[in-house]
């Protein structure tokens, strides 16, 4: 049978509980627009009436606990989709720069340089002895080699930029991983506290996990002690308990570009997604493919033009020499790497241009005609220079388009998942307003209960005293 004085205890517990409710509501309202904040709610546990007569109904709050409305499943999904978003964003940022090189608004692109070069041979066929036309051929050939070099340089610049991004991203991954390891310790120390601090620490850690996901493909799991273990999809450990394990960055002896290593093992090829993978893919696959196209085209031009040039006679009646400086494949051979950067005109004397057919006089134009015709069929490429270049342009556009499309898709996915998360974990001000009233009224009622008890005690005292 409860006593009047124990009733006061019950009232005090109720007052404390409603106050906690108000505090938590205030915390929710204050964080209504904090990204990644998880809504908290106080739940009350009625007293079980231990030590009392169980037949008597006892009103009272035994304990008030703070619950956070966390949906770990959706949060995990968000982190996974952020990886794709990070990857596509990195690719798109790089390819945007690349496509601008090929848009050729100014008409100064490789296409017009190619046309100008071959047309200069065609012009020369009209009057092969004309020194101005001969000079023109050398000028246009120089323009073509410069255009190859310019495009090659710019592409390499984007490639180098990606290399720097690889370095910076790895550093950032290391810094975040060590922060997550620290958070693991913090979370362990606030675990079970009933103030909402544990939830706040979990929110912070989730933000770090999201940020890390944008950078590299990770999977993570939380153990019973509340600490997360983070590793890349292919199993490179990043965080375990209070420890983080750094990615190392070292220039590759083959390419000179940075390799991503862990424990001295090259794990570059195991990085599958995130900004790091996006930058690696552009650096190691996309741009090298473009450079290879340029190299193949330049090497074909050098070979085919030189071959045709050698079958004609120059203005002095001598057999044509090399028009372009011959390209020597770097060992072990089989690759034209560097041809587009090194292509240069071997001739400086316009009279050495072999416009004439074999043994033809200064007015003979048959070789100039054949040189001009190479444009429509480069034997080494098996197609025209225009066709080959158009394919490259198409490839660049398609790559940029697919990065753009992929980025939009990932952004939409992340947005939807975040909305889904917010519908469960986010703060609704309407709901909080209702809760304030609820707690306020309950507080008022409990206070009223104390007043009633006070009156009762007064009455008893009066009876006893009277």
């Amino acid at each position: 049978m409860p006593t009047i004085l124990s009733g006061l205890d019950i009232a005090l517990r109720a007052l404390n509980a409603q106050q906690l409710g108000l505090e938590i509501t205030q915390r929710n309202v204050a964080n209504a627009s904090t990204p990644g904040y998880t809504k908290l709610r106080v739940s009350f546990e009625p007293a079980t009436g231990s030590g009392m007569d169980s037949s008597q109904a006892v009103a009272g709050i035994e304990a008030a606990t703070v619950d956070s409305f966390r949906n770990s499943f959706v949060e995990y999904n968000i982190s996974q989709e952020l990886q794709g978003q990070g990857e596509q964003q990195a690719a798109f940022d790089a390819l945007q720069q690349v496509e601008a090189l090929f848009t050729d608004k100014s008409g100064q692109g490789l296409q017009s340089a190619l046309s100008d070069f071959f047309n200069s041979f065609s012009s020369l066929s009209n009057a092969p002895e004309d020194p101005a036309l001969r000079q023109q051929v050398l000028l246009k050939a120089g323009g073509l080699t410069r255009e190859f070099g310019r495009l090659y340089d710019r592409l390499q610049r984007v490639q180098l930029q990606q290399n720097q991004i690889v370095y910076d991203t790895a550093e950032e991954i290391n810094s975040i991983a060590s922060k997550i390891a620290r958070m693991n310790t913090d979370i362990f120390s606030v675990q079970g506290s009933q103030t909402g601090d544990e939830s706040a620490a979990l929110d912070d850690r989730q933000r770090l996990l999201d940020h890390l996901s944008e950078l590299v493909d990770i999977s993570y799991f939380e153990d019973s002690s509340g600490t997360v273990t983070v590793e890349t999809k292919q199993g490179a450990l990043l965080v375990a308990g209070a420890q983080s394990k750094a990615l190392e960055i070292a220039p590759s002896p083959q390419t000179g570009f940075y390799d991503v290593m862990q424990d001295g093992v090259d794990i570059t090829s195991t990085i599958q997604s995130g900004k790091l993978a996006g930058a690696l893919k552009v650096r190691d696959t996309t741009i090298p493919a473009y450079l290879k196209s340029l190299d193949d085209m330049a090497a074909a031009l050098i070979t085919d033009v030189n071959l045709q040039h050698a079958s004609g006679s120059d203005l002095n009646g001598d057999q044509g020499g090399d028009f372009f400086t011959p390209f020597v494949q770097p060992p072990p051979g089989g690759s034209n790497a560097g041809a587009a950067r090194s292509i240069s005109v071997a001739i400086t004397d316009p009279n050495k241009i072999a416009a004439a057919g074999p043994g033809g006089g200064p007015g003979s134009n048959s070789n100039a005609l054949l040189l001009a015709a190479i444009k429509d069929d480069l034997p080494s490429l098996g197609e025209s220079a225009d066709q080959f270049y158009a394919k490259l342009v198409f490839q660049v556009g398609s790559d940029s388009k697919s990065a753009d499309d992929g980025l939009q898709t990932q952004k939409n996915l992340v947005q939807q998942l975040q909305n889904q998360r917010d519908s469960f974990s986010g703060v609704s001000l309407d709901e909080e307003a209702v809760n304030i009233i609820k707690y306020q009224k309950a507080y008022q009622a409990s206070a009223r209960f104390v007043t009633v008890l006070d009156t009762l005690i007064d009455d008893i005292l009066r009876i006893l005293g009277g």
Binding site: F102, D104, S125, D130, G360, P362, A390, Q420, D422, S423
Partner: protein, 292 residues
């Protein structure tokens, strides 16, 4: 679904981002006049644009070649015409010298007239245009016909130059002078030596030789006429092709101004509406506004 203000703001921002991006594209289309702002907008159009630019440059070059070819062939045509007239005059002089009434002094003075006409033919055969001797084959840097006494020798070669004036179409740009002029000069030489010798029968033979020596000249005139005809046709075709090509380039590359303007105003309306909606969302009341 429970909707929170954060989610609403997130959706609103995403819509605004998309709209602004589209607006940027359309306004760039309008300001540049080009349909393709980024290559990624249409990679296929980008590739086609390369082909079209290549074709356009080629057409320009064909036109240049055709103009150059026309120039040289017209010069050759007018030279060959003049030669034809001179040869007729020489034949007239020859015929006058064959008549029995022509005295030795008549013959001598006719011979002088023939020599003067021959020199004119020689000068025409050594025509030099824009620094090139047009009847010299490929030896265009020196005069192809040299004269010693009455003997004219060809020192050019027989190389024929062709130039490209359209896809798969070449025209002959020059006429090597040997087959045209050498028989004529030979006939003139025979005529002069007969005249100097007062050999009336010989002069008669030379006049006959003269007539048969015109085969090369006539062939060359026919050839030049045919090539000029081809060039005239091809020039017209090139003009038509250029017009068609420009139309196609415009279809592929140019923005449709009316369409772009319509799109711009649509997007502006959408943006305005979204902003208005956004404003009301951001100022949306919640329960707190009604408590107090």
């Amino acid at each position: 679904m429970r909707v929170t203000p954060t989610a609403t703001c997130r959706d609103l921002l995403a819509s605004l981002d998309t709209l602004n991006e589209k607006l940027d594209t359309v306004s760039q289309q309008i300001s540049t006049g080009k349909r393709m702002v980024h290559l990624r907008d249409s990679p296929a159009a980008g590739a086609e644009s390369v082909h079209l630019a290549g074709e356009a440059a080629e057409l320009d070059q064909y036109k240049t070649n055709a103009d150059s070819g026309t120039f040289y062939l017209q010069v050759a045509d007018s030279v060959l015409n003049s030669v034809q007239n001179l040869v007729t005059s020489i034949q007239t002089k020859g015929s006058a010298a064959t008549s029995g009434t022509a005295s030795a002094s008549d013959c001598a003075s006719l011979a002088e007239e023939v020599r003067s006409l021959r020199d004119q033919v020689l000068s025409l055969a050594n025509s030099e245009v824009r620094g090139r001797y047009i009847f010299a084959g490929s030896q265009i840097t020196s005069a192809p016909f040299v004269i010693e006494g009455d003997d004219v020798t060809y020192i050019g070669d027989d190389e024929i130059n062709k130039i490209s004036v359209d896809d798969g179409l070449q025209v002959q740009q020059n006429i090597p002078g040997s087959s045209v002029f050498s028989p004529i000069f030979d006939a003139i030489e025979s005529m002069l030596s007969a005249m100097d010798a007062g050999d009336h029968a010989g002069i008669g033979d030379a006049v006959a030789q003269m007539s048969s020596s015109l085969g090369g000249l006539n062939l060359a005139r026919g050839q030049v006429g045919a090539e000029l005809g081809k060039l005239e046709n091809v020039s017209l075709e090139l003009d038509t092709e250029a017009v068609n090509l420009r139309a196609q380039q415009s279809r592929v590359e140019d923005a449709n101004a009316a369409e772009a303007a319509t799109r711009l105003s649509q997007l502006q309306t959408a943006l305005k509406t979204t902003l208005a909606v956004g404003q009301s969302i951001l100022q949306q009341h919640n329960l707190f506004d009604f408590l107090g």
